[in-house]
Subunit: 139 residues, 2 copies
DNA sequence: AATTTTGCTTGCATATTGCAAGTGCAAATA
DNA sequence: TATTTGCACTTGCAATATGCAAGCAAAATT
């Protein structure tokens, strides 16, 4: 589990105390851009997160109020993970990470569509996507 | 040193392979927002990074082309660290981290001015600051 | 010439990560 | 009803990364 104690009052430092690792933002990414919403879904993503790390990150993200656990509508055996509003507010950050990554790495073709959409109208994309994400937790 | 092998082709994952730790972006922050440009400057910042970690992060950031080492104009004993264009392009990301951090943590008064400036005109702030940072490496 | 500053490196204890195997409960299948 | 499978984790342990303190060489200062 990542630590709790904050190193300073700087907003960057505080934010990194929560997300400053290689995995947390990938979970957020999955919640935003793929339909991932269960433990198994997160395990399936390309980067192959270790199961104990996944569990510890989900716990930390929940404790930080970024995601929320609830009953899966399909089955009692499943757990539904969803973003909170605090988590949805990370969208602009994830968008900027995508744009920087797109500029400096080779991006697979399947992702180009979204990146192009973002580049064409960033504020528009963000507000549309934020509404979409907020709707999905209000319903 | 953080690892080199990339976990997937996802831009978020690739970016986290470079910055997915608690320290790298604090160094970038210092280069952007304080006048920090030497090893000693980075050590002085509030979060108190360990010297070996600082060395390994500076090395990794340089290897990733995000910062550059050069001769300090004042003295041969000093090393001057500066952002490359690739590093300057991280500004929008740092801005978003600041905004999220500002929204969800208590921010010290001294930082409020910058945050307010960002909130009032984000694109304007970013383009002004980017120019400023680019100028400082061109001169 | 001696001391201090600067930018590191080294050694070692502790913490975090990664991997593999295992557990408990719900649901599907036989 | 008994058994197997799926799902969400937990546990143990080895490998890696971090944090702390001390040390070190070159340059600058005294």
């Amino acid at each position: 589990m990542p630590d709790q104690k904050k190193r300073s009052d700087c907003p960057v430092s505080c934010t990194l105390d929560v997300f400053g690792d290689k995995w947390s933002l990938l979970i957020i990414r999955d919640l935003m851009f793929t339909k991932s919403c269960t433990y198994g879904d997160f395990q399936k993503s390309e980067e192959k997160i270790a199961t104990n790390i996944l569990a510890s990150r989900l716990k930390a993200l929940e404790e930080n109020g970024v995601i929320r656990k609830s009953q899966h509508p399909e089955s009692k055996a499943k757990v539904l993970y969803t973003l909170t509003e605090k988590g949805i507010d990370l969208l602009p950050l994830i968008v900027e990470i995508n744009l920087w990554g797109d500029k400096y790495f080779e991006i697979p073709k399947q992702l180009e569509a979204v990146i192009t959409e973002i580049k064409e109208d960033k504020p528009g994309f963000i507000s549309r996507k934020m509404s979409e994400l907020k709707d999905s937790i209000t319903v």
